[in-house]
Symmetry: C2
Subunit: 364 residues, 2 copies
């Protein structure tokens, strides 16, 4: 049995000690810096904060938390002034804080919707961890609220900035694999502590699919470069005590794309560490293994090992997001709220397909 | 585009030049030898004949063919006397031939049913290439006919004797992977010549599923050690000219097992060389890559590279089948007609699930 944290540790090896890509800011020391407050000081929030130490375009300047003891630890560790510390009762006041540009929402999934809308109403850009919401309707409301408030909404799609991933996407666009025919995504691990919020549907909005299945969904889109037009899915539950109603343990799902390419994916909280993407075309293939873990991504194609820099994903993500928010930079693969709504629409369809046993058609 | 033959060549590297496992017959030079006639002198029949040169327990002694020029070439190449040569009109006479013990049927799939029953009625043991038939009803008739005739029916499941495969099965039985949770089988290549019999439903009985999808079906059973209780499937056809009605191009299928383990498989005539088995348990994994090609099988587990002898599959198969037929030896994984009916039952269910979009339940 593995706790999520120990799984992450296994996957991350010594990522934080590895060199970070030289940032554009080295060349432009006066480039503007995105000043970020993190909402939710759990293990992933801590990982982002640590990674941001190496950022040149983004800086952690504030926190929003319901736990005063955590706030004090973070203040000391990251030099955060008291005036930039909020709790869940008063954080609408952030609208009067001119020293904070954006809030990164890293709370349990089911709390994202309300938090993102409140931050938007406070006039700050929002970065939201994925899944952005627990269904597409919520997601669209968040997109609409941010648009109405005139703020930008980005989602923590760290793989969209990962160099091995981007190299495969570049090769696919150049036709190195020929027409794409098949994608496989495997996303799974054996989850530990049964009391964690991820196994509480009121907080997680779902099980393995919300937590890690989303990587295979999102990956199937950026690896193939297509949007699915149909979905089928099969759910299996072997432990209904640990995985209560509303928490999916294992779901296999299949996607069909307009070109005729198909995807076959697995999302599970009940199998050995699974984190593999495989893209197969008529003239070649790419494998990413591991494909999405926090540590070094590795991969190969029919031409050999992928050569790409090892980066700390969250460092690169935050530097890139700073440039998106401050300068309108366009990422290779979108990371905005509409991108997240596409994933959530597919998640809705997968749950429906698993429940009904019927194929669910999607708009291309 | 790849012809089946060039695909096979790619997969086989120099298998025929590699050393063959020392056979038990070395120790017992007087052990009885199975005297075999091959029916169908096409490319696979030729491969079997060549491999049998290295057999110590089986010997090629006869042929059944509709092409006299081929018969003459084989007679010369393998030293086959004229009295052991038959055509499709007269091969029932083989019942009077005391120098032939068994017939290996290597004709197009749809012809297996009638041929096997005729051979059985002639009182000879039958080895039939896979798929043994084009549906389970045919398969059961063949099993029944052989039983009624008092002859044995074996099926060309060469992987059931392959050392890397057997090593994974041994490890799984010993619990090396923990409880099995997931199997993936990928079976596919881009088929060439559109005029070949494999693309003619009257001869093949189906498309990629009959030809190579069956490897993933059979593999899901011997790798997990369980029989599936449900099947779902999704068919995709991108080229209805090359893949006419009755010839499946691409089918994804999923299997559920009594333990809660699931399998996710791909059968295709339209993707880059795919030949991979992946078995995942709670405590470890095994990968066979390539898993079923004619050449050297390679594999690894969570413990490292699999160490197992490289063999010519058809040589080992025929030596082992000789011992099964002549001495009642029990193989680790069954290779008899009932084993084939299990695969054909699953193929029937996959076709039904693909056609109806509904899950098909199977008896465990």
């Amino acid at each position: 049995m593995t706790t999520r944290r120990s799984f992450i540790r296994q996957m991350s090896v010594s990522a934080l000690s590895l060199s970070v890509l030289p940032s554009i800011a080295w060349a432009f020391p006066d480039a503007p810096v995105l000043r970020v407050a993190i909402m939710g000081l759990g293990s992933y929030g801590t990982r982002v904060a640590e990674a941001m130490r190496a950022c040149t375009r983004a800086r952690l300047v504030g926190v929003i938390s319901g736990t005063p003891t955590k706030v004090r630890v973070w203040q000391e560790r990251y030099g955060i002034p008291a005036k930039n510390c909020y709790d869940y009762g008063n954080y609408d006041q952030i609208k009067n804080n001119r020293d904070i540009d954006a809030v990164y929402v890293i709370t349990p999934n089911a709390l994202h919707h309300d938090a993102v809308i409140r931050v938007a109403k406070a006039g700050k850009h929002v970065i939201c961890e994925k899944p952005m919401a627990v269904n597409a309707r919520q997601g669209q409301e968040m997109v609409d609220a941010c648009k109405a408030a005139g703020v930008q909404l980005l989602v923590g799609y760290r793989m969209h900035f990962e160099p091995h991933t981007l190299e495969v996407i570049r090769m696919r666009k150049e036709g190195a694999f020929g027409p794409i025919r098949f994608f496989q995504g495997l996303s799974g691990f054996i989850i530990g502590d049964p009391t964690q919020w991820r196994l509480n549907p009121a907080l997680s909005g779902g099980g393995a699919m919300m937590d890690i299945g989303i990587y295979s969904i999102n990956g199937s889109r950026y690896m193939t470069g297509e949007e699915p037009v149909w979905v089928t899915a099969q759910e299996t539950k072997t432990d209904p005590v640990k995985f209560i109603k509303g928490i999916d343990e294992t779901i296999q799902f299949q996607l069909g794309f307009p070109s005729g390419a198909v995807a076959s994916c697995l999302s599970t909280y009940n199998a050995n560490n699974l984190d593999r993407f495989f893209l197969d075309g008529a003239q070649g293939f790419a494998e990413l293994l591991p494909a999405t873990g926090y540590g070094p991504i590795q991969g190969r194609t029919h031409l050999g090992e992928l050569q790409a820099p090892i980066v700390t994903h969250q460092t690169v993500q935050m530097d890139e997001m700073a440039q998106i928010l401050l300068e309108g930079k366009q990422p290779v693969v979108p990371v905005d709220g509409r991108e997240a709504v596409k994933d959530l629409t597919i998640i809705d369809a997968i749950y429906k397909a698993a429940r009904t046993g019927q194929r669910v058609d999607l708009q291309a």
